[in-house]
């Protein structure tokens, strides 16, 4: 049960990932860093972070448990789940 409870952390995590994909704290900031406005870099880094956390979500098995199913590969070595 503790596993599924820990899975609940993903809900606020996803909420934060969605909410701050828009660089709200940099509203009105016009600094240019390395050739691009700094808020564009925020966004680039943020989407990178999303991919990292999304893969953690999948690997942890929360992907399956979230749908009420048991993860097919409990050790979650790859992004697996398919039998090929």
């Amino acid at each position: 049960m503790s596993r599924s409870r820990r899975d609940l952390v993903w809900i606020p995590t996803f909420a934060v990932l969605v909410a701050f994909a828009v660089p709200w704290p940099l509203w009105g900031v016009d600094r240019v860093v390395a050739g691009l406005p700094v808020w564009i870099w925020w966004h680039v880094a943020w989407l990178g972070l999303c991919t990292v956390l999304f893969s953690r979500f999948v690997e942890s098995g929360a992907w399956e448990r979230g749908m009420g199913r048991r993860p097919e590969s409990e050790n979650g070595s790859a992004l697996g789940g398919d039998r090929r």
């Binding site: 828009v22 691009l36 999304f54 999948v58 992907w63 789940g81 398919d82 039998r83």
Partner: protein, 494 residues
């Protein structure tokens, strides 16, 4: 000579895409599952790119850079948030759930899934009808985009209607000849191709103007407001409501929604989900920055042309500019084909067969589907000649219309207590309200209802809330009908 070269490259590329589709068609079987879903056998790379290419429409490719050119590079943030993050989360919440359900019960369309769950042919036809309604402006958008692209590429030698007619012809040819397998394969080829050329294009243009820093500097000299985040068009209301309506709308697009049924395995969906944000960024960053940088470049963008072809014509050789436009037009063709194909399956399976003619033979059904596609594309072509708005405006209208379906569907997927009456109220009422808003802008006789309120908030966002409230509220006060069966949506136990 250069005109001939450009047109030759564009037509040649479209023919090449057609050939890929035909080869894929040869290896397919003649069943509905194969024609529409490629037998649920699509692997990660193809699923990823076929979904990607479906987003790779005129909206992204020409509309996006145009808006970045006119209003600033914040569009990158809006689209990245929509497609890269919010859509990915919905990909899991709606997409994976639908895949699990569809895999168990053999569904091909959203309407079929809901109709079966609630035991209602009416609901099935309603969902299909609503989807077809909003598909119309989006197909039209591709024709508008292609028309404007060829104007930009050829400096007006090819008229707007010519480009629109060219893509319409290829769209019809393609759908009639191939099927989902064909579309999925050309999408993959085109997705990879577009991703590569857009980076080459950006590198080429940036090095011609003296580097990224110089390009940004020139942009800021011309439009100092482009440097700071927010402002102008980009109010918080605009950013939030655009992000929400588009992301939810995308999941309900027939061609995207049907992708949720086609994956070979759950693993395919997982890998696509993980790679999605980065893939989206890789496309949007160069495409939209080129649009924004163009304000600082000594280029003249003619009225009604797209900015991207103009920039490419200025800084890259003719053949390369033509190749990028060809790729974009082909990608748009492919997107449109996915839409038309899914649209035709919605029409034949959810409207024609259950409502009009239950005893139609397979042959007749296939014939109806193809004639339907041709008629739909031709009507959209005619409507595209009137150019009722910018690419972004037309696209946004369609996205919002679809977005109104999303919350009732989520309700049905996750809440067993949802009833048929709740679903019908939650779908129908907001659609009628939104249609009134949209049509009031087109019909001259009635006063135009506002599309946005209080600084950029889209009324569609309010209607989405209404759709959820109606679905839940009406479900609570009505009893489930005898024909409905919540266990159809169970995904655990065998």
């Amino acid at each position: 000579m250069t005109l001939g070269l450009s047109l030759g490259i564009v037509t040649g590329y479209l023919l090449f895409a057609l050939a890929v589709g035909l080869v894929a068609y040869r290896v397919s079987e003649a069943t509905a599952e194969d024609y529409y879903l490629a037998n649920r056998s699509i692997g990660t790379v193809v699923l990823l790119f076929t979904t990607f290419a479906t987003l790779l429409s005129a909206f992204t490719f020409f509309g996006g850079p145009n808006l970045a050119f006119a209003a600033g590079p914040e569009w990158l943030i809006v689209m990245g948030t929509i497609d890269g993050v919010l859509f990915a989360v919905l990909w899991y919440a709606i997409g994976y759930k639908q895949w699990l359900i569809g895999n168990r019960n053999g569904y091909v369309t959203l309407g079929e899934m809901l109709g079966d769950r609630f035991g209602s042919v009416g609901l099935r036809a309603l969902v299909a009808g609503v989807s077809l309604l909003w598909l119309f402006p989006y197909v039209m958008l591709q024709q508008m985009g292609a028309g404007e692209a060829l104007v930009g590429l050829t400096g007006g030698a090819v008229p707007y209607w010519g480009g629109a007619a060219l893509i319409t012809t290829f769209m019809i040819l393609y759908v009639v000849l191939a099927g989902m397998r064909g579309v999925a394969w050309t999408d993959t080829v085109q997705g990879l191709f577009m991703l590569s050329v857009v980076w080459i294009a950006a590198a080429w243009v940036v090095s011609a103007v003296g580097g990224v820093g110089t390009a940004t500097g020139a942009m800021l000299d011309a439009r100092p407001d482009f440097g700071s985040f927010g402002g102008g068009t980009y109010t918080p209301g605009f950013i939030i409501s655009t992000a929400i309506t588009i992301a939810f709308g995308v999941t309900m697009f027939p061609q995207i929604n049907q992708r949720f049924f086609v994956a070979k395995s759950g693993g395919t969906l997982k890998r696509s989900f993980v790679l999605w944000p980065v893939l989206v960024l890789l496309l949007f960053l160069p495409a939209f920055m080129l649009g924004a940088w163009a304000v600082g470049m000594p280029v003249e963008v003619p009225e009604g042309a797209n900015v991207l072809p103009v920039v490419l014509n200025e800084y890259t050789p003719t053949w390369f500019a033509a190749l990028v436009i060809a790729g974009a037009v082909a990608a748009m063709m492919s997107s449109s084909d996915s839409m038309l194909l899914s649209g035709s399956s919605y029409f034949t399976r959810d409207v024609y067969r259950p409502v009009i003619n239950a005893d139609a033979s397979e042959r007749r059904e296939a014939w109806i589907a193809r004639v339907g596609v041709a008629a739909f594309a031709l009507l959209a072509f005619i409507a595209s000649l009137f150019r009722p708005g910018t690419l972004i405006e037309v696209g946004d209208t369609a996205f919002s219309g679809f977005a109104l379906l999303a919350l009732p569907v989520i309700c049905a997927l996750y809440w067993d207590r949802t009833t048929r009456t709740g679903m019908i109220a939650g779908v129908l009422v907001p659609q009628i309200a939104y249609l009134a808003v949209v049509l009031s802008a087109v019909v001259g006789a009635v006063p135009t209802l506002p599309r946005t309120v209080a600084g950029g908030w889209d009324v569609a966002l309010g209607l989405m809330v209404l759709s959820a409230a109606l679905t839940v509220g009406v479900s609570l006060v009505t009893a489930p009908t005898a024909d409905s069966d919540a266990s159809r949506f169970a995904v655990t136990g065998d």
